[in-house]
Chain length 211, copies 2
């Protein structure tokens, strides 16, 4: 198909498709004349993936490129590709590295991971992100909200096990890779969306009539 049909089938405007081509998010089409390229179903699928990473995952162009590269890297294990995607999703934490709050946050994160026996990199992007988030709770005086920390950990532990088992049951290796990487991005977005709905509900029941 020509670029115009690729645009129609995906709902992505032609100038945006050209931008993704220039940025290396979408492989070039097959040239059929010096000024004309043909695109296939693989381009439709990749374009939808790019939009999901940008719009739903809220990734930057650079992070999207890294995640796509991790999907395309043929020699890595599934676990390595998840690691590449997680590095792209988790920027290094900010903050004064010597502050008491940050040291306490790191200690709490390490203790939680050790108590659960989670097999995660140290240092690593997911551990760093947890440290950064705990640091914000402490620094902003919201410690009491951490009462749910262990319940959160219980919940995500069983959810992640179900997700990874689902991906493991897929027969097509390409589809397994997409599942591991998208499971991170879409899974985050899904749990966030449900969490906000549940908060809206709990708040409506507790506070709506109180002023």
């Amino acid at each position: 198909m020509r670029i115009g049909e690729l645009s129609t089938r995906t709902g992505v405007p032609v100038p945006t498709i050209k931008y993704y081509l220039r940025e290396g998010l979408l492989p070039a089409g097959e040239l059929t004349s010096p000024n004309q390229a043909q695109y296939g179903d693989a381009h439709v699928r990749r374009l939808k993936l790019v939009r999901a990473l940008l719009d739903v995952g809220k990734l930057s162009i650079a992070a999207t490129r890294t995640v796509l590269d991790s999907i395309d890297a043929p020699d890595n294990s599934l676990h390595d590709r998840l690691g590449i995607a997680q590095h792209a999703l988790n920027p290094a934490p900010a903050g004064d590295p010597d502050s008491a709050d940050l040291l306490e946050a790191r200690e709490r994160a390490d203790r939680l991971i050790a108590e659960r026996g989670w097999l995660v990199e140290s240092p690593g992007p997911a551990r760093d992100t947890l440290t950064q988030v705990l640091h914000s709770y402490l620094e902003l005086g919201q410690q009491d909200l951490l009462v749910v920390l262990d319940d959160y950990a219980d919940a995500v532990e069983s959810l992640a096990a179900s997700e990874i088992a689902t991906v493991g049951r897929r027969s097509d290796p390409d589809s397994q890779v997409e599942g591991v990487v998208l499971g991170t991005v879409l899974g985050d977005a899904l749990i966030t969306a449900l969490h906000r709905l549940a908060q809206e509900d709990a708040s409506a029941r507790a506070f709506a009539a109180l002023g």
Copy 2:
């Protein structure tokens, strides 16, 4: 304190503080001479809040301003302020409004909310976000990963109830307001961080040695 000490106490560079002042994220200090302003503990606290919303919540400057306005609005109920924050956090969904996948996503989101009896706006930002995320799962052929949808919903329902109850136990109204708004931003970040850790662990157990 002068702006230099405000910078030292928060770790935020002076030019960045001046930028936040221009953007209205931080109230002006008290002028003690035409070229000099004094800042207080309220500025320290607000500056940490701004950094948490920008760095941990990944909000834009405009969304941060909206969330801060919701905290400062004195006449709104706690529930109304949560609503303002959620609107700032959830941009309107993209995508072709007539596509079959989007219609199915909306139907699934509405059905899940109805089955749970959740009291949420219709239309509303949290509902729209769930629709958009489900749409991405369907469009990218990742339906099988939605096997965890009901388990996710169970988990967040009890977590949100705990969080809102914790905020309700606070005695200071200002602190309740901050808790409701920060509970959304930090709660999302916390559950996302734990989810990624649990995924890394589950992936390490399932895939690390398999290649």
